[in-house]
């Protein structure tokens, strides 16, 4: 196992380097300069700013400088927020995003699993169709529409939950629901398919032949085996949740990373773009690794193969 992870880490590093380089050069293709209020700057001032941030150097030189600093753990400072280091900015933004992402993932997964299980157990009944309609709606309605509606009705009209801000648990409820809707939907559909697949397996018949109750069969034999493949879609989902919540972050005034990421692209804040991209890539690669390892832990068949 240790060696396996070791090997994976090496290949992760290579992947990471390639991603870092690719992003760097792509970013250099972005039009415009990173300076705020450019409209009021004269040509010479822009030149001076470029000089100051080393943007006048040839791109390869900038690249080498960046990569060298990267290995020292220095991601540079934001162009937009004077002098604040990229690591600090990511650091203070990651908390809410991570919390929200995690909570939505948790809630979405739980509900998704429930819906999927119900749909599969009540295959081709009204409950099945009901759950799947919910699931499809969850993917179909844009999350910002759900968010906007909730904010108005639940927050303003009924006054049940705070409209926005990030100040405590009750503030997380609406954004969580808005994000979790899609998660629930995706997981529910996946789970249903997997459940149906597992329910048709011979070992389920074996379990039934033992005289186990249907509940025991479902809980002990079906759900576990059906959930294992779900782990594989969790990886990309985690990252998507971290990056993809920007709309929700904006609507509910949550100081998260997704919003920062998009605004940094819009303002050509190169160090932040690089920083966040690299952060997300690392996150992604690590999550994938974790998922694979987890998969091996949950599925005994893979554990040994991986351990070789």
């Amino acid at each position: 196992m240790g060696r396996y992870i070791g090997g994976r880490v090496v290949s992760m590093l290579v992947t990471f380097l390639i991603i870092a380089s690719l992003t760097f050069f792509l970013m250099k293709l972005l039009p415009g300069t990173p300076f705020n209020n450019q409209e009021k700057m004269s040509e010479s001032q822009i030149q001076q700013m470029n000089e100051k941030y080393g943007l006048n150097d040839p791109v390869p030189v900038q690249y080498v400088t960046y990569m060298t600093n990267l290995f020292k753990g220095d991601l540079g400072v934001s162009f937009q927020q004077d002098g604040r280091s990229v690591t600090t900015i990511i650091g203070e933004r990651i908390g809410p995003s991570a919390y929200l992402g995690f909570q939505s993932l948790l809630i979405g997964t739980i509900f998704g699993l429930l819906l999927g299980i119900i749909a599969a157990l009540k295959h081709n009944t009204f409950l099945d169709y009901g759950s799947m309609i919910i699931a499809v709606l969850g993917i179909s309605i844009p999350s910002f529409v759900i968010a906007g509606m909730m904010q108005y009705w639940v927050g303003v009209k009924w006054g049940m939950l705070p409209v926005a801000y990030w100040e405590g648990f009750e503030y997380t409820i609406m954004p969580t629901i808005a994000i979790a809707a899609a998660v629930t939907a995706t997981i529910a559909r996946f789970m249903r398919t997997e459940m149906l697949e597992v329910l048709g397996q011979d070992y389920i018949t074996t379990a039934k032949a033992k005289g186990l109750t249907s509940t025991a069969v479902v809980i002990k034999h079906t759900i576990r085996n059906a959930s294992i493949p779900i782990i594989t879609i969790m990886g990309p989902m985690v990252v998507a949740l971290m990056t993809g919540t920007l709309v929700i972050e904006q609507i509910f005034v949550i100081p998260g990373l997704g919003e920062k990421f998009v605004s940094s692209i819009m303002t050509n804040d190169f160090p932040i773009i690089m920083g966040t991209t690299l952060f997300f890539s690392i996150l992604f690669i690590v999550v994938i690794l974790v998922v694979d390892v987890l998969y091996g832990i949950v599925d005994p068949r893979i554990r040994l193969a991986g351990g070789k």
Binding site: Y203, A209, K210, T213, R224, N225, V298, R301
Partner: protein, 356 residues
């Protein structure tokens, strides 16, 4: 002998895209204490469906028991509630399936899978169940049961997995063991081991076994009595000697004739021509008629009743009717028929009445 199970006029159908599949169409059979009943017949003839019906495991939908009784200990399994069935499954009647590779849950240790039934039916504690599981593994001949008990199925070879499946089935000393093609997926050598194991266990525990297979060699090896199924019906039933040495139904002839014995010389094997009938629309009369070289006109019109050949031997073919011309079974079959001069067959009605 004591009948511990009796199936009467069982009909099972499945509702599918193509229409109603009449998978089992009036099966009658019984099982006596301590005996092994082999059910043979080609693929799709309804062997598994019959056994699943006994276990109450016909998936519903699409399947349903349309008619018939399955009497076990005086009670009709076909009418039992799911709950009652659950208390019988695994403790009174258990089942082993064909494919050892897929009949075990890959993510649960074999020990746990054995223990489940024990905990449920015998209300053993976890530790008790575990030591019993180890005993069972030892019983089915798995070396190092102490370590094996906490391993996962993929760490076992095919033969060992089938042993585990058997251990699960035997965990609660069931009175009936239904083995649905338990050795088809295995190598001959392992098959032989499993068969020996089953025979041993039967001797020790007095279990009655319903053994489903299409390998006649296996039947000869393990069965006391044999039921031959074709297109959802039992077409011939008798003791193993009666079926092998005095077969009466042309389908049984075909089955026996299509297997070379070690001394079969150059002559052709008897192939049963054609393919089995479509059970959504079973043919009128004798379902075997279209593939039967001895078919008579009546076969295409009327379903043959069971004819009694001896107290234990019955066959459903018009060839046994007194008016039927005497037909010679094929050479290969004739060679088998040793000194079992057939007494005059009599026709049997559904409720067992005789008709001269």
């Amino acid at each position: 002998m004591e009948k511990i199970l009796e199936v009467k006029d069982l009909h099972v159908s499945f509702d599918t895209f193509g229409g109603e599949v009449k998978a089992v169409r009036g099966v009658n059979l019984h099982l006596e204490k301590g005996e092994t009943l082999a059910i043979v017949g080609e693929s799709g003839s309804g062997k598994s469906v019959t056994s699943k019906a006994i276990m109450g495991l016909i998936p519903n939908p699409p399947g349903r028991i349309k008619e018939g009784e399955i009497l076990f200990g005086g009670k009709d399994l076909a009418k039992m509630s799911e709950k009652e069935l659950q208390s019988i499954r695994g403790s009174e009647i258990s089942m082993i399936f064909q494919d050892p590779m897929t009949s075990l849950n890959p993510t649960m240790t074999v020990g746990k899978q054995i223990m489940e039934g024990l905990i449920k039916h015998q209300r053993l504690s976890k530790t008790e169940a575990k030591s019993r599981a180890i005993e069972l593994l030892k019983l089915v001949g798995i070396p190092n049961p102490d370590t094996r008990v906490s391993q996962y199925p993929h760490q076992f070879s095919g033969g060992m997995r089938q042993r585990v499946v058997i251990a699960i089935a035997l965990a609660c000393n069931p009175r009936i063991l239904i083995a649905d093609e338990p050795t088809t997926a295995l190598d001959v050598t392992i098959q032989a081991q499993i068969l020996e194991l089953l025979r041993d266990l039967q001797e020790k525990m007095g279990t009655s076994i319903i053994f489903i297979t299409h390998d006649l060699g296996v039947v000869a090896n393990i069965a006391d009595r044999v039921a031959v199924m074709y297109a959802g019906k039992i077409v011939e039933t008798g003791t193993v000697d009666e079926i092998f040495y005095n077969p009466q139904h042309p389908y049984t002839w075909g089955l026996l004739g299509s297997m070379p014995s070690l001394d079969t010389s150059e002559e052709e094997l008897i192939a049963i021509p054609g393919s089995p009938p479509d059970l959504t629309d079973p043919p009128k009369g004798d379902a075997f008629a279209p593939r039967n070289p001895y078919a008579m006109k009546i076969d295409t019109e009327l379903e043959p009743p069971l004819f009694k050949i001896s107290d234990t031997h019955y066959a459903a073919t018009w060839l046994l009717h007194e008016k039927a011309p005497k037909v010679e079974p094929p050479e290969a079959i004739k060679k088998r028929m040793k000194g079992m001069a057939s007494s005059k067959p009599t026709m049997v009605t559904k409720d067992g009445e005789r008709n001269g």
